[in-house]
Symmetry: C2
Subunit: 322 residues, 2 copies
DNA sequence: TTGTACGCGTTATCAG
DNA sequence: CTGATAACGCGTACAA
């Protein structure tokens, strides 16, 4: 069923039918004629042909590191919302934290009919920088600050510093830290450094020998926390780079010291499930939905008004439960 | 940059360039000529035009109820994996559990250049049945059994029955149940009925007045469980339709009866985070990744070999931690 | 092995 | 307000 056949059946020109679906330069009379035929045939215009003709697909490619992470889910939800209200669709690619797959998808999207690309960022490699410099497709990165690209990110450092200060007010005497790889700058470096600063300012510095890597995993964090607590009974505070890992640390503390122990365990990111299971541990709410939404809006405005400058937006935060 | 310009620059015909990218009817000499120009210009064929010409987009539309649910994340991960290895891309739509948005997306995908549609199913309304009956687009539904459509689903009932029997072996004397709306047949009806059967067979039936709706939410389940335990101290077992809700029930039990209480709380779905935080409560592993993967494979085979029958696949399960 | 010519289904332009 | 016509960029008979 093509526009031509509809035109023939309705006794009008194809152009008329096209206008019927787009701008509305159609007389009432013809409109009814066409509407009737369209309803009878169930005709839908070919998006393919339209895309070709318009040189635009109203499609945004979104590349995420791990779809099963709550923070990512919240971002994509925000992206999707913004995108949908502007009449776009989302093409989602999941890389399972694999840099090669990530670059592959970025390359794929460049020649795919997407109007723009959103990258939910984790690591920054030379190949990433190369891509950013060379791509002609509108591009926004969410969650990491990256030079040369439009990006929208959270003030991980400031948030962590404030969290650290608040924790220090409780005067913990022996503070351990479970972080993640520094390859993820926002989570691995900014959160750690900010937290260390805040704790030190408040007079409760992290002890150098009590720093571990929790690898973004509840299990790994559980394991590390257990080892820490077994070896250092003096620990009375464990700060974690994510709520997910904090969940593991809490479990460890309960195992080693029993329920109702006094160890302070803090997280980051306000993971819904973790917060509701634990009844609320010290954490930072980061507005992932917002960054998703704003990132998508930024991208679409780039798509629709090309030639603008790359812009960087830093989002606020809210320290919670302490 | 079009195929014509490349042809001109390489001193060959456009058809040659097309063949260079598709079937390979090109002499070595010309191949090198073209390769050189392609590399220099960074030319990528327009997927738009190719799609129009081929009448195929290598795109699968996936409609999910809630992207931030772990089970959904696991399914989409499986779908994505299967799709990618077959050379397709995934277009993801999120409905936030809204039936209207769900139907909108289904309709959108029908006229979008997707080769097939996967629906991660929850409710089944007359409009759903209408869509299924009328759509000409290859279509697979995952997670619910639905007549007239190809579907792949889990044996929720059998799994629940076995879980119920296992729980009954611990001889609980007063069993409560927190479920969800029966509009979601698999989760709201099959799990409930199966569990009730298994418990009854084992001699530990659920007490009729101890049945509540937890609305897929940790908070709601927490609230309901707290009310139950406050009003009925004799409760020694709370079964929940999802792990997420079980997390709320555990929290409630700890609040009301203290840590280390003997109330058995069971879940369903083997939620990673819940299992690792709780140290493992009785649950059922359902292979969501597998259903995603197989559902996608089923769909693609429908796309590539049209005219087949609708098929229904039931997947197994594994009861865990009891 | 190579090139020519046509058509995929739309929409934009332009003349009426 | 309406209709004819020319692209959009590519793939593929068909002829050479």
């Amino acid at each position: 069923m093509t526009i031509k056949e509809i035109a023939r059946l309705a006794g009008v020109s194809p152009a008329m039918v096209s206008r019927y679906f787009n701008n509305g330069y159609v007389s009432e009379e013809k409109r009814e004629l066409i509407a009737k035929v369209v309803k009878e045939t169930g005709y839908k215009p070919s998006v393919q042909a339209r895309n070709l003709r318009r040189g635009k697909a109203n499609l945004i490619g979104v590349v995420v590191p791990r779809i099963s992470s709550e923070s990512v889910a919240r971002m994509t939800s925000g992206i999707e919302e913004a995108i949908r209200t502007r009449g776009y669709q989302m093409l989602l690619a999941n890389t399972e934290n694999n840099a090669d797959i990530e670059l592959d998808y970025l390359a794929l999207f460049e020649r795919y009919p997407v109007d723009g690309i959103v990258l939910v960022g984790t690591m920054e490699t030379p190949r990433h920088r190369k891509f950013i410099k060379e791509t002609k497709t509108p591009f926004v990165i969410i969650g990491q600050r990256m030079e040369g690209a439009s990006c929208i990110y959270h003030d991980d450092r400031g948030a962590a510093r404030e969290l650290g200060r608040k924790i220090a007010e409780h005067r913990p005497e022996c503070v351990a830290y479970i972080g993640v790889t520094p390859e993820d700058r926002a989570v691995g470096v900014e959160r750690r450094d900010g937290l260390f600063e805040g704790l030190a300012e408040g007079g409760s510095p992290v002890r150098d020998d009590l720093i571990r890597d929790g690898a973004f995993s509840t299990e790994k964090a559980h394991e590390e926390a257990k080892a820490l607590l077994d070896a250092h009974p003096e620990i009375d505070c464990i700060c974690c780079a994510t709520d997910i890992m904090a969940a593991g640390a809490i479990e460890a503390a309960n195992e080693v010291l029993g329920y109702g122990n006094d160890v302070i365990v803090s997280g980051f990111g306000d993971n819904h499930l973790v917060q509701s299971i634990t009844g609320g541990i010290p954490t930072v709410h980061l507005g992932y939905r917002t960054s998703g939404r704003q990132g998508a809006e930024m991208l679409i405005s780039q798509v629709e008004n090309p030639g603008g400058m790359a812009s960087m937006v830093e989002l606020g935060y809210r320290v919670a439960n302490i």
